[in-house]
């Protein structure tokens, strides 16, 4: 990553500003959605969806996951799998 | 009198449905013995035959063995049988298939640090209301005197008496820490988590005096938290129960 050409990094910087704007807007959106008094299930689904979109923006552009090598994805795939198991199974039993 | 109940292996089976648990334990242990003896004798044979001898060199050509893969497949298959034919039905019977309420004796057992409070609903079949704030030495369950349903309830400490050949539904609760209500001879064990009530059930097929065990570490008195589990004939149990109710209701009418 650090061996980027001068032009390449310029493009990256422009994308950071775009991502920042998107994140700010999404934050305001999620607060607005929560004020809509949706049914309980939809409120959770909406909030989590927006949070996931924001998270993937941060991870994809700021943490350069979009340009990362496969070994990092293998590591994150298994971590995410066990994260889900830990999140869901206790509540089911 | 105690000896014939207990020994170095499985204790006597006093429960009508206990044979299923014993059968599964025996089947699994036979399966384990067969596997271990076969596998261990192969190990010993290989050690003796291929020990280091002068002018003998190991041959690196790995002969591909067919048998082990079959054995592994067989083990996997038998485990499926163990699960579906034995463990799932027995466990669901113990956890889900409760006897019919009207035919069964309902009892509540409240565990506390180092004693079992047994609470019978009495003739009206209703348990009196309990309130933690009312708990005192003389009223360990915190029974609310104002509640009419509780007036005829019989309460004992560490004494669980049940009639023989009658299904018993036990409602378990704990006042302080995690205990575990276990009767080895009945093949019954159920963790009692404070903050939740959980139900278990069993049916005795033989009279006698047995013991209730606390199977989960619950503090420094865990080892002496022994309860007495007495199975009596139906009429013997009724006379005992009537005497207790009379004693309890007798006190109520001055």
């Amino acid at each position: 990553m650090s061996a980027l050409s001068h032009g390449g990094i310029r493009r990256h910087v422009r994308s950071y500003i775009g991502v920042f704007a998107a994140l700010a807007v999404l934050t305001l959106v999620t607060v607005a959605v929560s004020n809509l008094r949706l049914a309980f299930f939809f409120a959770i689904a909406a909030a989590l969806l927006i949070a996931v979109v924001k998270a993937s923006l941060v991870a994809g552009f700021f943490m350069h996951l979009a340009f990362e090598r496969v070994i990092i994805f293998v590591l994150l795939f298994f971590t995410f799998l066990f994260f889900l198991a830990l999140l869901i199974l206790p509540a089911l039993s | 009198m105690q000896e014939k109940y207990y020994g170095w292996g499985l204790p006597v089976d006093v429960s009508v449905h206990g044979w299923q648990v014993d059968q599964l334990i025996v089947v699994v242990h036979v399966f384990m013995a067969v596997l271990f003896i076969g596998w261990f004798s192969f190990l010993i044979y290989a050690l003796i035959r291929f020990r280091q001898k002068p002018a003998h060199q190991a041959d690196a050509r790995a002969r591909h063995f067919k048998l082990p893969t079959y054995v592994e497949a067989g083990v996997a298959l038998f485990e499926v049988v163990l699960l579906c034919a034995f463990s799932f039905p027995i466990f669901s019977q113990a956890r889900n298939e409760f006897p019919r309420e009207d035919k069964a004796l309902k009892v509540r057992v409240v565990a506390e640090q180092f004693a079992w409070n047994v609470h019978y609903p009495g003739k009206d079949g209703l348990f009196g209301r309990m309130d933690p704030k009312l708990i005192k030495a003389v009223n360990p369950l915190g029974l609310d005197p104002a509640d009419p349903a509780g007036r005829d309830d019989v309460t004992t400490v560490n004494q669980l008496r049940v009639p023989v050949h009658t299904p018993v539904i036990v409602e378990l609760a704990s006042k302080d820490v995690i205990h575990s209500f276990a009767i080895p001879v009945m093949r019954v064990k159920q963790d009692v988590i404070p903050g939740q009530t959980v139900r278990s059930w069993f049916e005795a097929k033989q009279t006698g005096n047995f013991q209730i065990v606390c199977a989960q570490l619950c503090g420094l008195g865990h080892y002496r938290m022994r309860g007495f589990f007495t199975v009596q004939d139906k009429d013997e149990f009724r006379t005992w129960f009537d005497a207790e109710t009379a004693k309890k209701t007798g006190q109520k009418q001055p």
Binding site: T27, L28, V31, S34, F62, I72, L87, P90 | -
Partner: protein, 199 residues
Amino acid sequence: MSTAVIPYISESHPVTGVTNSKLGTWCFLASEVMLFGGLFSAYVLLRTGTLEWPHGKELLNVPLATVNTLVLITSSVTMVMSWASLVMKSLSRYRFFMGLTILLGLAFLVVKAFEYGHKFQHHLFPSTGTFYAVYFTLTGLHGLHVLGGILVNLYFLVPGSRLWRTNPEQFTGRIECAGLYWHFVDLVWIFLFPVLYLL
């Protein structure tokens, strides 16, 4: 400090394509995902366990938290800008953006401290109820992670940057890893904010 020469510290491994420190940082972030996974699992189990669970909106100050979220997002941007300016070989712009990141992080902590102080005044402590216990524990542990991130960034702002003169490549890699950690801390807050404040 003499260490035997360890390869791939600043140039990436020919096969895996990553440097040691980046793979190490991602492993550390994986363990942090599991740490917050444990805490979120506690939140899910406790919330599904009880019937009455207060809505975050009534008890917590949502507008202030929204501002706080924007503060943290801005600090994420300035962090990645500080790394980008190192790639563009200008130490001064790096120092500017890194300083900004640290200030924004401190601002986030000040807002949190204000929120906590406000609650303590109203005698709302972790021991008042499970909702407050979850709120204080999760945001508290997240706050400690933010504090840790600030200390690391402070080190890289002044003493750490001497490495720029001797080995700029390695220093850029270090800032990238500090940036990964900081973005992760922001990512956790992105999930914490709706879960605690909005649902």
